[in-house]
């Protein structure tokens, strides 16, 4: 007999070694997440996936599923926390969606839509961040980076290249590029690399493709991120 946890009262089976997030995704239960991508080792940094397990808040993408856990997920309180985290991500970077090629296909924006974010609420930092257009096929716009490290993980674990890394701590963090000049154009990054495909935001974009699908006809214009990430709609 398979082991189960309960998520919002629903019984969800899991296998030994799976996290709460793994079990939820396999069962088609949506737990909002940004830094998690099932193809890569969990990172546990954005905290959007926070759930309440037996009364304590934990990151579901890193928390192993254990027989009999009572998990609260889709509650007003947790969604309010998630909304606040999302709003902080918006004001900590420079997110001008109308000028962003990723708009409509962006997971940060989609999570904001899902949580009903009507404004970023907090005062904007308007940080000074660098754009790196030196690569012939790929552009890196740090204004939109949320430091999820998916590109770091993908470049290291899938591409075997280590093109990206993080430097600094806290609000002083920045995404750095592994070349003597620090420029993307001086790395061996290829447009086909996994690192180029995984960015959930418009921080890493492939050049010359921006508006092949017009605004208004993109994934999250018509489907919620919940539908997409639990298999209810087309995949990116």
């Amino acid at each position: 007999m398979s082991k189960t946890i309960s998520i919002d009262g629903q019984s969800v089976p899991f296998e030994e070694g799976q996290t709460i997030m793994d079990a939820a995704l396999a069962a088609g239960v949506y737990i909002p997440h940004l830094c998690h991508n099932p193809e890569f080792t969990p990172h546990g940094s954005c905290k959007l996936c926070t759930v309440k397990v037996n009364g304590r808040n934990v990151a579901s993408c890193t928390m192993p599923a254990v027989e009999g856990q009572e998990v609260l997920n889709d509650t007003e309180e947790l969604n309010a926390d998630r909304l606040a985290l999302t709003q902080m991500l918006f004001v900590e970077g420079n997110h001008l969606c109308p000028a962003c090629e990723k708009s409509g296909n962006c997971q940060l924006q989609a999570v904001a839509y899902y949580l009903g974010m009507m404004s970023p609420h907090y005062n904007h930092f308007y940080p000074q961040r660098e754009v790196d257009a030196s690569h012939p096929d790929v552009i890196l716009d740090r204004n939109r980076c949320i430091y999820c490290e998916l590109c770091v993980r993908a470049s290291r674990d899938a591409d075997g290249k280590c093109v990206f890394g993080m430097s600094g701590r806290g609000i002083g963090s920045s995404l750095v590029v592994n070349s003597a000049s620090g420029r993307l154009g001086d790395t061996n990054l290829a447009v086909t690399d996994k690192a180029v495909q995984v960015c959930p935001t418009g921080a890493i974009l492939i050049k010359g493709k921006g508006f092949t699908v017009p605004i208004g006809r993109r994934i999250f214009d018509h489907y919620t991120i919940k539908q997409i990430q639990t298999g209810g709609g087309p995949h990116e």
């Binding site: 997110h95 109308p98 214009d221």
Partner: protein, 180 residues
Amino acid sequence: MSERKIRLATCSLAGCFGCHMSFLDIDERLFDLVELVEFDRTPLTDIKHCGPCDVGIVEGGVCNAENVHVLKEFRKNCKVLVAIGACAINGGLPSLRNNIDLWDCFQEVYQYEGGLEGGVVPNDPELPLPFDKVHPIYEVVKVDFFLPGCPPSGDAIWRFLTDLLAGREPKLDYEQLHFD
């Protein structure tokens, strides 16, 4: 409806008037609207100052001293203040200049770019003082409701207004909520 009509004011600060154009996209529903509301200050009436109103709708962010005066006049006079569009809500496209030095910006536009007679940065006392950064209006005054979009569609605006005027908490359908 025999009671007093709801008094509505609108203005555009650091915006492109796109939200106002989208407002006109409610098309013939404008006839339904004027049954319910009376316009105070708005580009439609050309009234220059806002009097006591029930609802004020502000497009655009705050990029200069004049924007702040107008915004404060709206906040003082309007019972309910609404931020409409990306610029009022996060600074929008005008805030693309927030990470460029203001003087560099002026020089680029008035001195280095061809086509402007004289090539001097305007410095008339009549001109409002520009700020070094563009800000959303909620960083300056309290805002009661937000209607995102760049611009929000006519349908989203109509949905929002009909909710608000009927005394309901405005709520958009999923496909009406857009940041772009």
